[in-house]
């Protein structure tokens, strides 16, 4: 009993082990623009949280603050019980545990697909080359681009590049994966191949934060939908509840504009 109360004091009301990412009163400004206003968000282990909202609502920024690609002005962010450290080795170690997938893929242009997936393992995790290559090939097969291993990123289609980027992040065995609009730069016919990989990941129990405009994915894969507008979290709900019966006017307005076409 006493042990439980100790964890509660350290971590708050919910069992500390389940709370993987905790944002507490996070604020950020870009000059005069208050992009993140008092954001409170908790992501539990194994949960898939989809963040949606209009452009400029701060959802990408929110995603990027979680691995400190964007710094915050006030508030706190903890990952697996550890507050985000300052820039340096400590932060690098923590980032290795947080996978990130970007809108523009950002594969290393001067490395082959296989090297892209191996690099983090060999240079950050210090895995030996043969083992890293074996794991990289397995991951590339898993995302369906195993045959492209020796090509350079520029030789691949957008959908293939994005799946390689997912494999690159998975190679680090991350505790949580952040997706920053992973399908927004893709041709329509390539969106599904990326979403399929993400669906599979979600089913495998990966903890995911997904910023997206893909409402279909939000409906089918999310445990929870977070709706942001003007730098605030306006509504948080389970997907069915959110799409069929949104509580806030702002969400009703947003959904009416995107769903009725």
């Amino acid at each position: 009993m006493s042990e439980v109360s100790v964890t509660e004091n350290a971590g708050g009301p919910a069992p500390a082990a389940d709370r993987l990412v905790v944002l507490d009163h996070v604020n950020k400004h870009f000059g005069a623009l208050h992009v993140l206003q008092d954001i409170d968000l908790t992501i539990n282990r194994g949960e898939v949280v989809v963040v949606i909202g209009p452009s400029g609502s701060g959802k990408s920024t929110l995603c990027r603050t979680i691995n400190r690609l964007e710094t915050i002005d006030s508030g706190s962010i903890t990952i697996d019980g550890k507050p985000l450290p300052q820039e340096g080795r400590e932060l690098a170690r923590l980032r290795a545990d947080v996978g990130m997938v970007f809108q523009s893929f950002n594969l290393f242009a001067h490395k082959t697909v296989l090297e892209n997936v191996m690099l983090g393992q060999t240079k950050v995790r210090r895995t030996d080359k043969a083992k890293a290559a074996e794991k990289a090939r397995a991951l590339l097969d898993r995302v369906g681009v195993g045959t492209q291993a020796d090509k350079y990123p520029a030789q691949l289609s957008g959908g293939q590049q994005q799946r390689v980027a997912i494999a690159r992040a998975l190679a680090m065995d991350p505790k949580v994966m952040l997706f920053d609009e992973p399908t927004s730069a893709l041709d329509p016919e390539m969106i599904n191949e990326v979403l399929d990989v993400m669906q599979q990941l979600a089913r495998d129990g990966m903890t995911m934060v997904v910023v997206t405009h893909e409402m279909g994915f939000a409906r089918s894969a999310a445990n929870r939908v977070v709706f942001m507008a003007d730098g605030r979290i306006v509504e948080e709900a389970e997907p069915n509840q959110f799409f069929n019966n949104p509580r806030s006017e702002r969400a009703k307005d947003f959904l009416s504009k995107i769903l009725h076409h």
């Binding site: 690609l69 690098a92 170690r93 290795a96 990130m100 242009a109 001067h110 690159r168 680090m172």
Partner: protein
């Protein structure tokens, strides 16, 4: 015409002197320049300030003044009894490093920010990101300005001749003082420089062709 044949050993030594001083100070400039460029884009403010200071001081000081410092101040404090070769290498290398630094920094800025973000997001440190991801992709853009900088260095090395280091310019001055026809001396001296500068631009053209990065 006869000047060359009569003083072939002197011309040869002068040519080798220019070659040696260019190579050694070029190497020093490249190493220092890349290092200082790393400082200038580093997340640590004191390193950035140091890099900015380095470039500001060395780039804006006349080279002759740097030579005066290297030959008359430095030996008093540090390298007592250092050879003119070492002192000239220091002056030329430090001076040129500021230009190399700025060329490398401009190359770093051409690499899309996303590349560094992706590297950081898989847990690479700043140094790893720079060494493994950013600098290799910056190299190709840096080659063109770098070849100009090294050619300028070759010609700047003539100043070392005025500071008791035997190279092409000092040989031409020596023969000039002996009363030979200026035109011929200059022609041979110029040819010596051209051999080096053409080799540099040729080498860099080759490198540029071999280092294409597909995007």
């Amino acid at each position: 015409m006869n000047v060359l044949l009569d003083y072939l050993p002197e011309f040869r030594d002068g040519f080798l002197g220019t070659l040696a001083i260019t190579a050694s100070s070029g190497l020093l400039a490249l190493v220092l320049g890349v290092l200082i460029a790393g400082f200038r884009v580093s997340p640590i403010p004191p390193l950035r300030a140091f890099g900015t200071g380095w470039v500001t001081v060395l780039r804006n000081t006349p080279l002759t003044l740097l030579f005066l410092v290297a030959f008359f101040v430095v030996p008093q404090i540090l390298f007592q009894g250092a050879s003119p070769f070492v002192l000239a290498t220091l002056a030329l290398g430090f001076y040129t490093s500021s230009f190399v630094c700025e060329a490398v920094r401009s190359g770093i800025n051409t690499v899309p920010l996303g590349q560094a973000e992706a590297a950081r997001s898989i847990g690479m440190t700043f140094t790893q990101t720079l060494r493994l991801i950013v600098l290799p992709q910056a190299t190709r853009t840096v080659l063109a300005p770098l070849s100009s900088i090294l050619i300028a260095l070759t010609k700047n090395s003539a100043i070392a001749g005025a500071f008791s280091f035997a190279e092409l310019f000092s040989v031409s001055k020596l023969l000039n003082d002996k009363g030979y026809t200026v035109a011929w001396i200059f022609l041979w001296t110029a040819l010596g420089y051209l051999v080096i500068t053409f080799s540099i631009s040729g080498l860099f053209r080759l490198l540029e062709r071999r280092m294409g990065v597909a995007r």
